[in-house]
Symmetry: C2
Subunit: 766 residues, 2 copies
């Protein structure tokens, strides 16, 4: 593949000019004639029943066009996660429908967290809609609430949904004989680790505009979403509109990180548009994004590991309690991911995963970059450090000894690894950090300062097989001037997937990148795709685009073979021209072939390539992270001085985008580790729903990050590529906590590592 011309080259985003010039249209930029503006009334109580709701005053306010409550919406339950299509069929996916509790309504008579939806207003402008909210008279009957998942699981706890003990899902996955494994161990380590309520904090808040045409019965929705086709299906189920009459158009999207992998605003917008006969726009405020969208699952991870003296792991038991908040959302899938795809990173013959996603009256947790992996890794990778200390083995050595390798089965999924650059990531990363030397250096770095070094590793899936046997599809058409267009369902949410797909198509077609355009994420145009999530796009859609482009190319070569008098398989396209492989110098521009296809008598065809791709596995990608930190023993403040982030991505289709993801995940992992936590008080109220009090790291907080791209080509990936967008944040917090331990001898088993938290640990140790 060393002769790739487009793939593997550092490439600016093909959408960069639109984004940088301000001409890209984001959801708030959509202006439709007669458009109304919506606002949502939100619950001030964590748990209550609406006894009475009077909207008469609000309705009479000049400029208000509609007010809706639970009385005005279909009484159909759904899950914001989407869930599987509600059918049962011989060949359907192996995930049980029960695992996806349909526990949400567009609007409900009961509210289950502070910020839950109570009513919605559509008015001529946002101020009027806001004013109308204050005129809605609600009489609540408060119900007892519970905020801690372990409390919520106790008998007698307030019941939030129908589930017994408030358990939204319980995932149990076990292989070998866990008790036997612990009996065979020389040492058994146990610990529990707590992780916070991180928010996605995309620069662009959630927003949608729905336009229902009451004459044609067609609903068009512009929305900043990761999952247009899931939106189409859920809206169809909720509103009774067939899917061919629903068009979801993803606007330019200013970040998702999983937070837009949910059905959140679209149903309310659609109902308001159907009621008013006018387009309705709903853009959340930043505070609403905090309290009314989704967060990462706060979790407690209990990890128990048995090891031999030589470091061989004999047994591992992970028990995870996830705080799901008021609705199940992605909780069941997140728990399942932790217990199947991720748990197999270490080759223990005896494993038990026991995970609970629990309802509480907290803000709702959902999909979030990493999808359970950062929480679980925070526990496991710290415990690995504890083991290595006890055994007096280097942490890298211990991991090299126990981790899964190419050709191994991941026992959590039963799938064989086609590629695995993890070991190379560890050795190259350690070398880059100067690991062996630095770990032995004195920890003092000033009066009260101590320096430390830590590391952690990850395995992350590219897509969700076998949990979700998903597939992607693409259409590639070639214009008569030899330029091409790629149609895909994938949503570019800022990560640059459209650029990747253009590169893949250009490479496969043998034309230049600038000659490829991408049309994406509009259900009225492109074939079905599940959406952008789970590090799936490059791997799954990348394959579909490559195969569709190959189909188009083969059509071109077929006709060219008649002109050149050579078999199609002996031809190739180079720089937009067809030529004989290793042959003479005769070349024909593909534009000529295309026109020949279109207009030649008895040929007459349009070049349209198409392909579907379903992966047989989830082609995990891997990485190792190394941290150098400095801790102030007098304040507990942790400063990250340097990060080495080594990742095996199979093949970096666009090194620029890969570096962006590798840097971005470290940034987000550091935020999770050091500062980010949406704090909920004893009445369920979020105390810091804004960027002043919820502390995101800024550029000045960021250390030097050395990136090492390892390319162990995945045989099933397009040009060898697999995922990249999430895994880099899985081990960051653990590596950081390990570095803090290296500096202080103090193990902080709780994120974020705020100064006061670390300081308490320091004092506690003394």
């Amino acid at each position: 593949m060393s002769d790739n011309k487009v793939v593997g080259k550092a490439t600016p985003r093909i959408t960069a000019f639109l984004e940088a010039s301000g001409t890209a249209q984001y959801a708030p930029d959509i202006k439709l004639s007669g458009m109304l503006h919506a606002k949502i009334l939100r619950s001030p109580f964590p748990h209550a029943v609406i006894k009475k709701i009077d909207v008469s005053k609000a309705t009479k306010l000049l400029g208000v066009v509609a007010v809706i409550t639970y009385k005005d919406v279909p009484r159909i339950a759904y899950t914001g996660e989407g869930g599987p299509p509600s059918i049962s069929f011989t060949g359907e996916a192996e995930r049980p429908t029960e695992a996806f509790p349909k526990d949400e309504y567009i609007l409900d008579k009961r509210v289950r967290h502070v910020g839950d939806k109570v009513a919605a207003v559509a008015a001529v402008d946002e101020d009027t809609a806001e004013e109308a909210l204050e005129l809605i008279n609600v009489e609540y009957k408060e119900l007892p609430a519970v905020f801690d998942p372990e409390e919520a699981m106790k008998p007698g706890a307030p019941k939030i949904h129908q589930s017994e003990k408030n358990i939204a899902v319980h995932i149990l996955n076990e292989w070998g004989d866990i008790e036997k494994g612990f009996r065979e161990a020389d040492y058994v380590f146990e610990g529990s680790y707590k992780t916070p309520r991180q928010v996605h904090a995309p620069m662009e808040p959630h927003g949608a505009i729905a336009d229902y045409n009451q004459y044609s019965g067609e609903l068009t929705v512009w929305t900043t979403t990761q999952i247009p086709f899931v939106n189409q299906r859920i809206l169809s189920e909720l509103l009774g509109i067939p899917m061919n009459k629903i068009r979801i158009i993803k606007t330019f999207t200013g970040g998702g990180f999983g937070g837009k992998d949910e059905i959140l605003l679209e149903p309310i917008c659609a109902v308001l548009s159907m009621k008013t006969g006018r387009p309705v726009r709903l853009i959340l405020t930043r505070e609403e994004v905090f309290i009314g969208s989704r967060t990462r699952h706060p979790a407690t991870i209990y990890v128990k590991t048995g090891v031999k003296k030589d470091g061989t792991i004999t047994a591992r038991h992970v028990r995870a309690i996830l705080n799901g908040g008021a609705y199940a959302s992605h909780g069941p899938s997140v728990t399942a991911a932790m217990g199947s795809r991720e748990i197999g990173l270490y080759k223990s013959p005896n494993v038990k995963f026991d995970g609970y996603c629990v309802y509480t009256n907290c803000p709702v947790a959902g999909a979030f970059r990493g999808y359970g992996n950062p929480q679980q890794t925070f526990g496991i990778e710290q415990q690995m450090d504890e083991i290595s200390e006890k055994l007096v083995m280097d942490p890298v050595e211990l991991r090299l000894k126990n981790t899964i390798r190419k050709g191994d089965l991941n026992p959590g999924t039963g799938m064989k690894l086609g590629s695995c650059g993890l070991q190379e990531c560890m050795t190259k990363g350690a070398k880059k950090m100067g690991w062996m030397k630095k770990r032995k250096m004195p920890k003092y770095s000033g009066a009260s300062k101590r320096r430390g070094y830590g590391m952690g590793i990850f395995m992350h899936n590219s897509g969700c097989v076998p949990y979700l046997p998903e597939c992607s599809s693409s259409i590639v058409t070639v214009n008569s001037d030899g330029t091409a267009r790629v149609l895909i369902g994938s949503t570019d949410i800022g990560q640059g997937s459209s650029t990747i797909m253009a590169q893949i198509a250009a490479e496969e077609l043998g034309i230049s990148l600038k000659d490829v355009s991408v049309t994406s994420a509009d259900t009225g145009i492109v074939p079905f795709d599940q959406g952008t999530y789970g590090s799936r796009t490059t791997y799954i859609m990348g394959n579909a685009v490559m195969l569709a482009a190959r189909d188009a190319k083969n059509q071109i070569l077929e006709l060219a073979s008649k002109v050149l008098g050579r078999k199609a398989e002996n031809l190739e396209i180079n720089e937009g021209k067809v030529r004989v492989k290793k042959g003479n110098k005769r070349e024909i521009p593909i534009s000529k072939i295309i026109v020949g296809f279109q207009f030649a008598p008895k040929e007459g065809k349009i070049v349209v390539g198409k392909a579907s791709f379903q992966p047989l596995g989830n082609a995990p990608y891997f990485g190792a992270q190394f941290m150098e930190v400095e801790v102030d023993t007098e304040t507990g403040q942790v400063k990250v001085l340097r990060v080495v982030n080594a990742q095996d991505v199979g093949k970096a289709i666009n090194p620029t985008a890969v570096e962006g993801q590798m840097n971005g995940t470290v940034y987000m992992g550091m935020g999770l580790a050091l500062t980010e936590d949406q704090v909920v008080d004893e009445k369920g109220r979020s105390l810091n729903p804004n960027f002043t009090e919820y502390k995101l790291l800024s550029a000045s907080d960021m250390p030097k990050i050395d990136l090492i791209i390892v390319e162990d080509k995945e045989p099933s990936g397009p040009f060898g590529a697999k995922g990249v967008g999430e895994g880099g944040l899985d081990p960051t917090a653990a590596a950081l906590a390990n570095a803090v331990y290296d500096a202080l001898g103090v193990r902080v088993k709780q994120m974020p590592l705020l100064s006061e938290t670390v300081y308490k640990y320091i004092v506690g140790k003394k």
Copy 2:
């Protein structure tokens, strides 16, 4: 095919609710942020050179953003017709590039007709743009002008382009031995027939909005056009923008009739948008549509026919002189169509066609429903009437004796007729009119009134093979609820093609019509198509849609076969459910199969059907028209009392739409015959460029029209269908003139048959 469930059923347009409710977006409805409004300065002279042009005053007017003249546009010649792609290739179409004179520029230093483009202004509103036009100072040098094509062909006539004798094209097509044919004849008939300058008069004037993004280099054009993909190609050639960066979106279109089968406004709009960096909107006034768009070719048709006493035609010579106006446009193709596809209707062994399209300083003639056929038929069908009178043969009998039949070769094209319901149209039409009886009745119907009966026939092509070996392509995707979407390049310009395509897809897929949506005519979405013209859409695109739907269906049946344990070929889809043909009652909704396709492990596919179709022939369709007229001998006024219009359409996919076309063509043919003529004076000025003085027939002018749909199924057509949209107007004027002759014994060889014209003939005869 008698068990069709959707095809063949009278069906309202699927777009009717949008159109009737006023929510359909036509070009003038497109409003973009920062949009400018353009106006065109037009020449007051029929032929002149611009000596000086000063735009400084106009540019300084408050609100004017740009003024462009020939100095500001690329000096690249093109033809509004589009012409063939400018490449030469072994397999390319058999039409010579020379036949498409590239004689137009976006703006030129020379003007060639009154109304020709001189300059264009973009301003903040239309009034300001209009005002600015008056401030443009132009100094012309007038050149001698010529308006009559026969004058223009004479030596010494003013030369309008480079062509010798102003001949834009000369088409000569000949078979047999024409002189021998005339020698063998018992009688030879000769006559010349003149036809007027009819205008398309679509309810919606031409309009376009161009939006060039200077940051991304992408050009988006919304336009009311029949040919979005030709627009894309020509704009690419003129502006140097690759095709993947040009997106042409056809808006809802209020009629085309060939008048929007041209590149007219889009280049000017695009240049203004590129110059200003803002969207630019240009909507023609009605007067501009008259003088600045296209018209039908006024023509003189010389017909000479040799016949035996028994009525057998032995030779036919047609000489046609078309007034092309200032630019060639479709003239060459129109002339070629007359001389190849149409001339073969009568089985003469010896034929010569000798056609000229000639430049004059008149308004430009272009594509127009009928495409030369109405002009030629006005001559031939009148002469057939003269022959039948001379031979004392009934006109129907004479035509039955001489016309081409199923299985015959059309010698003009070398193609065999796969179907031909012409003879059935004649016999059924005659019966319906009571022809044999009525022709013998007394002609008196009141003091000065005379009644008469006439008839005429036609053969019209479905598409343009072999002149243009065109093809169409379609993509059909099926949603997970079993509804479907059809992607096509065809432009619905009011004729209802989207409805036809939805019917074809629904029928083939075995689902109901409401479950099919159509996305069309957007070059950013759909695969290439040449556009809507030449009665091609139902026949060619209909086949592509049928085959694409079949491809999708086969994919569904393939998976269903695994579930039902039967071979796919033994399965069928009925009402959205897969079942065993003639088998047990087990049925599976296709929605289940679709989801199975998407999510089943190791199946994972999206249902995307696609197909290209290129016809091997042009599947002519046929018809016979019978007219009953009443003529007032004191005023010359002709009143049509009744029309019988019998047409063989192969298969009426949507009888409602077929009836619409059959009525609409009679209406347009009667307008051509009776009143319509854009009159140009001796200085090249149009005297009646408005709907007050250019007389369109109104509802009250229309007689009872009896429609007879004959269905001689075309083996190569989708469900047997062929074209319908044009042919009905080919024989209308001739049938009407024949009826007038029957009433008065006066043969009017000149359209329109205005009262004064007919009266002059009456006086002339006396």
